[in-house]
């Protein structure tokens, strides 16, 4: 648990914010796909910390800067949105197993629905930072409407190709991001591409069903969390095992990134 200070907390649209936190240099470098548990330092607000993905990360001389992208959906995120420069926070992390990066792949397809763009920003940074520039990044971004397509400017500067879909057709293809996939994958070899996805469960589920059988996809899942470290077993997700059985894994410790094909959708609440 380390103390952090809000550097800025900018509103991006009706309900999305970008927050930068200053953390002590002891905070270790996150891997892409990892997350933190965030709460206020003041003894107010909800009991439990809230999980947020690492969206950006910069190591400076005597401190580090953690960038978070979040959407106001309830009490905790509404409280975050009231923070201002200087507000003290507590951060536990980085937590979880992030995305696996396979240097041998030629193309990296990053698929984000809605707030799913949060971990993808940092994944893109890492892919670029690891000199995988020669290899191509392809971004598939989906949102309800144009106003909610966040992080666009940054991804545009990354040099990858950008596919966009909106539910209402206000930008890009009209439809969900999962519908973009077949078009993109057409003609590509499973061995040559790596897929990464993050987004609401409904999107991941349709992604799973539209994914050709020989492609795999690393998907970052969300679950309500209490501890974030594997101690409470509250964030369990049901996964298929090879032997056709099921097993319960902790999203915080065994994930949040799982093989999309492992997920047992019967027990996931699609909202």
């Amino acid at each position: 648990m380390c103390r952090a200070n809000v550097i800025y907390n900018r509103r991006l649209n009706d309900r999305d914010f970008h927050m930068a936190l200053r953390l002590p240099k002891e905070f270790v470098d996150p891997r892409p796909g990892q997350f933190v548990m965030l709460r206020p330092a003041a003894p107010e607000g909800p009991l439990l910390s809230r999980p947020l993905s690492v969206h950006r990360f910069t190591r400076l001389h005597d401190h580090v800067v953690l960038g978070l992208l979040y959407r106001v959906v309830g009490r905790g995120t509404a409280m975050f949105s009231r923070w201002s420069s200087g507000t003290e926070a507590l951060v536990l992390g980085p937590l979880g197993n992030g995305f696996r990066i396979d240097g041998k792949k030629q193309e990296h397809i990053l698929i984000a629905g809605g707030m799913g763009v949060a971990p993808m920003g940092y994944l893109a940074d890492c892919l670029r930072g690891r000199n995988l520039g020669g290899q191509r990044m392809i971004f598939c971004l989906g949102a309800k409407s144009q106003g909610e397509l966040i992080g666009l400017e940054r991804l545009e500067t990354m040099g990858g190709r950008l596919h966009i879909s909106t539910d209402d057709g206000t930008m890009g293809t009209c439809g969900t991001v999962a519908e973009l996939l077949p078009g993109i994958l057409g003609g590509r070899e499973p061995e040559a591409v790596e897929l990464y996805a993050c987004g609401p469960p409904g999107m991941l589920k349709s992604l799973a069903s539209s994914l050709p059988g020989d492609f795999s996809c690393q998907a970052s899942l969300e679950a309500r969390m209490a501890c974030g470290v594997g101690a409470c077993l509250g964030c369990a997700m049901t996964m298929r095992t090879d032997g056709k059985g099921v097993v319960r894994k902790s999203v915080c410790r065994d994930g949040p990134v799982f093989d999309l094909r492992e997920i047992c959708w019967d027990e996931i609440v699609i909202t």
Binding site: L47, M225, V229, C232, E267
Partner: protein, 300 residues
């Protein structure tokens, strides 16, 4: 800071609560386990348990509901896979024991008794999230006395019995555990609660109901500890919403010999250690030489 519960000697009264500290290893990066009074591990059953389907938790005002359903790797995998790590530390390890039947409780107790590195058993007759055993046993004094008595017969380890607050009269349950031969009573486990997603008109938990823990339940827990400590002669271990040293002191002053810290670990992984140092500071400030002087020191 040392306290005794039967033949169990703890270097201090701050323990972790079962199910909130994993098998110790999860929090080892944050907490020097050597400094804890004891680690109570996640509830162990004879066979591995998948636990309940998700969603399993939901936050509530100053609390949380959980319906984990005693997911665990089973006592054998615990002994082979988790206990060796804990043996590296100089800390009392307490195994929380669960069974669907009295026989299952006894088998788990027997195996743990035959294992080195276990310092006490905590019989969980209070889990609200399982169909058999658990709270079904913990609301019936005769069952409590029977489970305790028969466990007593198969183990010479210090025997703790963890009680449920979902009862009309906690003193009857405490007395039953004492009569069964318990060395100490732990209370409280969670209060049964429920939370509804009004937009979708479904329960937030797949299991419908769950156990309520956290600061919200502290007043109920302190009251029950106070009632139980005035009823039985064996030590009482206080649990429920302890976040700070002041919270722990409420329990101790009301009659608890030791305390267990649960949900607070989730909120602040260092909670146990901060509570410990807070207890020390309080004792200095009040000129209290031994924590035992504080146990049950409430003036009414």
């Amino acid at each position: 800071m040392g306290v005794e519960i039967g033949s169990l000697r703890l270097k201090n009264p701050v323990m972790t609560a079962s199910g909130t500290f994993g098998y110790g290893e999860e929090y080892a990066p944050y907490v020097d386990l050597n400094r804890l009074g004891a680690i109570v591990v996640k509830g162990l059953s004879w066979k591995p348990r998948l636990g309940n389907p998700p969603p399993r938790i939901m936050e509530t005002p100053a609390g949380m509901l959980n319906a984990i359903g005693l997911q665990n790797i089973g006592v054998k995998a615990f002994i082979s896979g988790k206990l060796p790590f804990l043996r590296n530390f100089d800390v009392a390890v307490v195994a929380n024991v669960y069974g669907e039947t009295v026989e299952e409780y006894l088998r788990v107790c027997e195996l743990l008794t035959a294992t080195s590195g276990i310092h006490a058993l905590e019989i969980n007759v209070s889990c609200p999230n399982v169909k058999k055993g658990g709270v079904a046993f913990g609301t019936d004094p005769e069952m409590i006395a029977e489970v305790t008595g028969r466990a007593r017969g198969v183990t010479d380890l210090p025997l703790l019995v963890k009680l449920s607050p979902n009862v009309t009269d906690i003193t009857a349950m405490a007395a039953a555990a004492e009569s069964g031969g318990a060395d100490g009573i732990c209370l409280i486990n969670t209060l049964t609660g429920m939370s509804v997603d009004v937009e979708r008109r479904v329960p937030h938990l797949k299991n419908i109901t769950g156990g309520l823990s956290g600061p919200a339940i502290k007043p109920v827990a302190v009251r029950m500890v106070w009632e139980a400590a005035r009823t039985v002669k064996i030590p009482v271990i206080g649990i429920g919403g302890i976040m700070t040293a002041a919270d722990a002191l409420e329990f101790i002053i009301a009659g608890a010999t030791a305390v267990q810290v649960g949900t607070a670990n989730f909120v602040n992984p260092k909670a146990t250690l901060e509570i410990l140092s807070g207890l020390g500071a309080y004792m200095n400030r009040h000129g209290v030489g031994s924590i035992k002087e504080l146990v049950g020191s409430l003036t009414t």
